[in-house]
């Protein structure tokens, strides 16, 4: 090979390496950016008067006088819609039977679309579910619903070789010649007066509990559940892990037993997370019976076992990083080995141990599979500290799955799912960032 080709190869090799790191950074961005941008939408959005009504009725929050004024002004514009509806209903009665049969289902569709947009219409029975008590609370959703009202979806099946395509037909055309035809342009032109959109910062998304399985309200029960589970797991795993690390670094003698213990540690680190969940179910719940069925304590114990190897490894590394001189100085002053460990080595290693602890805390908060069978429920209110021994809890990680995959109206509450994902990702990444910063400071300090 000539020199030129060798140089090109060398360069391209460098490019390959740098490219793969760039791709990795891009992967991180690609995953995080949609979660962050859409997740912020759960907190900051253009809320309608229905949102403020919901807040006032469900959470007793907001200015009642201002709300009454706003409702009154919205109602003024809505009244005309209701008038048109009742006018058309009267017209429907006078129609010939076959025409009536033609218009009745179309009219029902219009009514349903209006209910979804503005909330219950006058004369409707009081809805059972909270989600039907209010119109669209978010402006971008209201716009989508307005489109549903104005246009009918049809499917184009003319070409059997291509997947059928959807197209839209204006509803106003199908009501040509009746009194209802005026309704569509009226709603389109006055929608913002009927819903009064204004920029909203809904901090309650963090601190409220959910209303009607996350259609409204916030994610506080999930945040609290995640906190209980992660902190509970740390309470068990941290002391155990640090003590085990002290044993491994200070007391263990090389030999078969010790290498077996180390093997056990790395095996435990490699066990698939779902198997931890099965073990938690089979051991903590079915055998030890720490609780009747799923509970926070069973989940926390399972998570504790999962994060134990990580804590042990981090603590070991931190202890080994303490300079030998510290230990020798302490021993030369006549203190015992145990005394040296407790008063000199552990304090010096503490920041490093804490770094490992913080990362494990993030892992425990983010993991889903171990708590599916041991601690998580999909719907529930925030539990008190006394209930951790008996009752399960909703948790961010589990509820993201549940809302995205199993909720009956998953597509309608995307903003809540994104908000939850943002909450979880930011908790975990903040913990990790603080660990990274902490570690950078330690390494600076150790370098002197």
């Amino acid at each position: 090979m000539n020199l030129g080709t060798r140089k090109i190869l060398d360069r391209s090799f460098t490019a390959l390496g740098i490219g793969s790191i760039v791709i990795m950074a891009l992967a991180l961005m690609i995953v995080i950016v949609p979660i962050v941008t859409n997740g912020i939408g759960a907190l900051f959005f253009t809320g309608t008067v229905e949102h403020r009504k919901m807040l006032f009725h469900e959470f007793k929050r907001g200015d009642s006088q201002k709300l009454t004024e706003e409702s009154a002004s919205a109602e003024r514009y809505r009244a005309k819609v209701y008038e048109m509806l009742s006018g058309f209903e009267a017209e429907l009665e006078t129609m010939a039977p076959e025409k009536k049969r033609e218009y009745q289902p179309k009219y029902t569709e219009v009514r349903t679309a209006l209910q979804a947009l503005l909330g219950p219409l006058p004369g409707d029975p009081e809805p059972m579910l909270t989600r039907f008590k209010y119109g669209q609370t978010r402006w971008e959703k209201a716009e989508a619903k307005l489109h549903d009202l104005l246009y009918e979806v049809k499917w184009d099946n003319s070409d059997p070789n291509v997947m059928s395509k959807e197209y839209f037909v204006s509803r106003a055309i199908s009501f040509e010649g009746t009194s209802l035809v005026k309704l569509f342009p009226y709603v389109e032109n006055n929608i913002s007066k009927m819903l009064l959109p204004e920029f909203t910062f809904y901090w309650g998304f963090i601190t409220d509990s959910s209303v009607d399985s996350h259609f409204f309200g916030g994610i506080w029960p999930e945040i609290q559940g995640t906190f209980f589970l992660a902190v509970g797991a740390m309470l068990f795993a941290f002391p155990l892990g640090v003590i085990a690390a002290v044993y491994f670094t200070e007391y263990a003698r090389p030999g078969f037993f010790n290498s077996m213990l180390r093997s056990a540690n790395s095996t435990l680190a490699g066990v698939p997370s779902i198997v931890f969940g099965m073990f938690g179910l089979a051991f903590f719940i079915n055998t030890l019976k720490v609780s009747e069925s799923k509970s926070v304590i069973a989940g926390a114990l399972t998570l504790a076992i999962m994060i134990l190897p990580t804590i042990i490894r981090a603590a070991e590394e931190a202890i080994l990083a303490v300079p030998k001189t510290y230990r020798e100085a302490s021993l030369s002053l006549g203190s015992t080995k145990w005394n040296t460990i407790v008063t000199v080595i552990l304090p010096a290693a503490l920041p490093g141990i804490l770094t490992g602890g913080v990362i494990s805390l993030g892992r425990a908060a983010g993991e889903t599979a171990p708590i599916i069978f041991t601690a998580a429920v999909s719907v529930g209110s925030a539990i008190g500290l006394a209930d951790v021994f008996s009752s399960p809890t909703p948790a961010l990680s589990w509820n993201i799955y549940n809302l995205a995959s199993e909720h009956e109206a998953a597509a309608q509450i995307r903003h809540v799912q994104y908000g939850m994902a943002l909450a979880l990702v930011s908790i975990v990444l903040l913990l990790n960032l603080s660990a990274i910063v902490l570690r950078a400071r330690i390494s600076k300090k150790l370098k002197g």
């Binding site: 990795m24 991180l28 002290v246 007391y251 056990a264 435990l268 006549g334 995205a404």
Partner: protein, 387 residues
């Protein structure tokens, strides 16, 4: 002065110990160390317990149904009467997404590790490492949510186009490189420099034409592919490769770092370029460590639950043809997670135990992989330190 002498007195006293005191000291030392040992062996006890309790609920299944049905048939109808527990398609699905993620993650991960350990200067490496750590820290459910809500619709609508772009981006540079190398290698033996240059140019142009035609042809085939469902094996493989990457990068980087400076410097001294040093000296020396990294990364992909549960489509069948990554699959982990809820009420039935049989299978595979990778790392360290 008086204080100092008192301190001296104490210090001398500390060394003169009565027999009784020494006995107490020895007892406390033994008891203390025993306690520490007990706590440290807690981990081993947990591992034994995990094996015991998973196996305890898995064995009844094999007693009731035998091995053959579970491992060789593909009908998975646990709720029917009579129930069918053929897990072959599910095991195959697990292997398929694992292999797919390894195909993406291994080349990228090893390249990134080489870059981190040998190419980038320290100042940039400092910033690259946290990126990898962040990627490792993102909860699996967030990845799953991304796969389900963002990637799946994207693949379904623009899958062909995306694959065409990926093909061009990856294949075009590689092909250019290949063409240059081939043209060079084929003309090395010609002595006359002028003729060599001419022939080289000719060959490059010829190969280039063939290469462009190939690129274009494959690209157009890829772009015409219609992906019927976005929740498929390809989607899961991509996301799992993101999740396996940090493990592969960090473990292989350790393996590359373990290859000492002397090997590198020896290679440079012989006149090798950096790429040649890496390819011919460092990679062979670190190959076993990199193998261990690959095993660990694959294990991460195999044991992952949430992503596959949310985004694999959960359909227990072998794709048609068997390498079709655009079809929905189902994996062991997703089956355990998804079916346990329904099986829970009838603890003791074959339906409950079959899930533990799957768990045991996962556990055994991960255990073996772990042991193997550990052995490999230990052996590599021994060999390298022996040199």
């Amino acid at each position: 002065m008086a204080e100092e002498s008192a301190g001296g007195q104490n210090r001398t006293n500390a060394f003169v110990v009565s027999a009784r005191k020494r006995f107490i000291q020895r007892v406390t030392k033994t008891v203390g160390e025993g306690t520490l040992l007990a706590i440290a062996s807690f981990v081993a006890i947990v591992v034994i317990f995990i094996f015991y309790f998973v196996a305890k609920d898995a064995i009844p299944f094999f007693q009731i149904r035998g091995f053959q049905e579970f491992f060789t048939t593909t009908g998975w109808y646990p709720a029917d009467d009579p129930a069918k527990f053929g897990a072959f398609a599910i095991i195959y699905g697990s292997l398929m997404v694992t292999l797919g993620s390894a195909l993406i993650a291994v080349p990228m991960g090893v390249a990134a590790a080489i870059c981190l350990s040998d190419i980038l200067p320290f100042s940039i490496r400092q910033y690259a490492k946290p990126v990898i750590e962040m990627l490792a820290a993102i909860p699996s459910v967030a990845f799953g949510f991304f796969a389900l809500v963002v990637l799946a619709p994207l693949l379904q609508e623009k899958g062909g186009l995306l694959m065409m772009w990926a093909w061009w981006l990856i294949a075009a540079p590689f092909m250019t490189l290949m063409i240059i190398i081939f043209a060079d290698l084929l003309t090395t033996n010609i002595a006359d420099p002028k003729r060599r240059k001419q022939l080289n140019l000719l060959l490059t142009a010829l190969f280039g034409l063939i290469g462009v035609a190939l690129l274009y042809r494959v690209g157009s085939v890829l772009s015409s592919i219609q992906i019927l469902t976005g929740t498929n094996a390809l989607n899961v493989s991509i996301i799992l490769s993101f999740m396996a990457l940090p493990t592969i990068v960090s473990v292989s980087e350790d393996a590359l770092q373990a290859v000492g400076r002397d090997l590198r410097e020896g290679s440079y001294a012989l006149g090798a370029t950096r790429a040649e040093t890496i390819m011919k000296t460092i990679l062979p020396a670190a190959s076993s460590g990199i193998l261990a990294a690959v095993i660990l990364g694959i294990m991460r992909a195999l044991g992952e639950t949430m992503v596959v549960w949310m985004a694999s489509g959960n359909s227990a069948h072998i794709p048609e043809p068997f390498f079709n990554y655009f079809e929905a699959v189902r994996t062991l982990t997703a089956t355990i997670a998804g079916d346990m809820g329904e099986a829970d009420q009838v603890t003791g039935s074959a339906r409950f135990h079959v899930l533990f049989a799957m768990g045991l299978l996962l556990l055994v595979i991960s255990f073996i992989c772990n042991l193997v990778s550990e052995r490999i790392v230990v052996r590599q360290r021994k060999i390298l330190s022996g040199q």
